[in-house]
């Protein structure tokens, strides 16, 4: 897998009320196969940063290198998972959704069906290959979306609050599943969330961002063995540390 370098990236939003800095002078190095979570309050620019890395937005200044290659628009070295369940194509079955990227790559049908099945097995949906998204629960739809983003074998997985719209119990299951998937695939992951316990559970390193303008305020390396126990004292300590970083900002 490949490292990601983010160098002095800035982005300014043109709004009717004037120019608003979305992200300002963000620099960050992410190691190959590292799992990085970006946390911060709404409007801190975390999703904007992710969209720049995904290539959906072009930065006003700075550059991003993925495996030493400069990002220019979207590319198949990155897989993207969004928060909205509606990201799946409703006219395609789970299998059809997962094989979309392979189809774009020109992989023959037998081969892409085989790979798509494998990916659906990875997210424990092998029984639902023929189901259309509207017959699947929210959690299952998000698992299809993860399998879809992994199927064409990108080296980087970008996730924008993929479990934020799920209920708490399902979210716990999904976090465990994602940790397993990451352990198996060893992708470099950038995961945006506002959920502190989720960040501590998943990340090697948590980046804290603050708004107006969106900048990196702190980073915390989570040195806990996996699988992590969310009820352990150490886990809660990390959560407290993160909340302190975030809380200081909101009281300032």
């Amino acid at each position: 897998m490949v490292p990601i370098e983010i160098r002095d990236v800035s982005l300014i939003y043109d709004t009717p009320g004037g120019k608003v800095p979305g992200v300002k002078d963000v620099s960050l190095n992410i190691g190959a196969s590292e799992f990085v979570c970006i946390v911060g309050p709404s409007g801190c620019g975390k999703s904007t940063l992710l969209n720049i890395i995904a290539g959906f937005l072009a930065p006003a200044a700075g550059e991003i290198l993925i495996g030493g290659k400069k990002v220019d628009g979207h590319g198949m070295d990155r897989g993207v998972v969004f928060q909205d369940f509606a990201q799946l194509f409703p006219w395609r079955t789970a299998l059809g959704n997962v094989s979309f990227g392979l189809e774009m790559k020109g992989v023959p049908k037998d081969e892409r069906d085989r790979i798509a099945r494998e990916q659906l097995r990875l997210v424990k949906l092998e029984k639902f290959t023929a189901s259309y998204p509207h017959h699947l629960s929210g959690g299952m739809q998000q698992r299809v979306a993860i399998a879809r983003a992994l199927a064409y074998n990108p080296s980087v997985l970008l996730m924008d609050e993929p479990f934020a719209a799920l209920d708490a119990l399902t979210r716990d299951d999904m976090q465990r599943l994602l940790a397993d998937v990451w352990r198996e695939t060893r992708k470099t992951v950038i995961y945006v969330t506002h959920n502190v316990s989720e960040a501590v559970y998943l990340a090697d390193r948590v980046i804290v961002m603050t708004p107006h303008p969106g900048t990196i305020k702190a980073e915390i390396r989570v040195a806990l063995p996996r699988p992590r126990d969310p009820l352990s004292v150490e886990f809660l300590d990390y959560q407290k540390q993160l909340l302190k970083q975030l809380g200081q900002e909101t009281h300032a």
Partner: protein
Amino acid sequence: MIDSQRSKIRGMLSLLVAAALYELVARSGYFAPALLPTLPTVARTLLATITNGSMIEHAAFTLYRVMFGFALAVVVGLPLGILMARFARIEHFFLPLISALMPIPSFALVPLFMLWFGIGNLTTILIVFYAATFPMVFNTWSGVRSVNPLWLRAAGAMGADEHRLFWKVIIPGASPFIITGMRQAFLRAWIAVVGAEMIAASDWGLGWVIFDAKEFLNTDVMLASLVVIGMIGFVFERFVFGSLERMTVMRWGMMRAAKG
């Protein structure tokens, strides 16, 4: 299965009630039977004209004109609607034109088209085409603009180029609107053809039959033709477009049946 049977029975019921009401008025004696024939009379005429083949032939002519004009409307309206939604310049050029032309009833154009194109198939087909194109363009245009931007983003991230974005995302994504557009276009086509045939058809077509029957006070022929028009429309609406919808957008959960 039980639900679909129930809805069929309900559909039959509403038709039966309407027929019974008509029959009651027709037999009330207030109106001349020549003007308001009873349903058995209409049924006899219908059966007779079907068995001697004339009704079938008239219906075939009408259907031919509808299908030809409708197909033209789809062939022109679908790409135009898509282009309008994708390119601002095309939208700016065609939108005022469409807004100005759409409110003109197709019927009002029949005399003009007759002078330009003569009496017969060409005029009726062009009238049908005129009537059916606008709903096709409008719905396609709305449909493409309402495609979820997240689908485009996801597909782009997975390496879809413009060409495949179009065929694999935009077209299926806009399909609920496109199917609605086809439905409305067909309905408009069906309405337009009968009007056009009354004036601009020579000797053939259901519209012509109705208009011709007026000369001889053949109200039973008029009503029998109306029944045929209604039945063909019903078949297309319920079976052709209905099953197209069930096989696609309803199966995909992009459109739902009404509850309860």
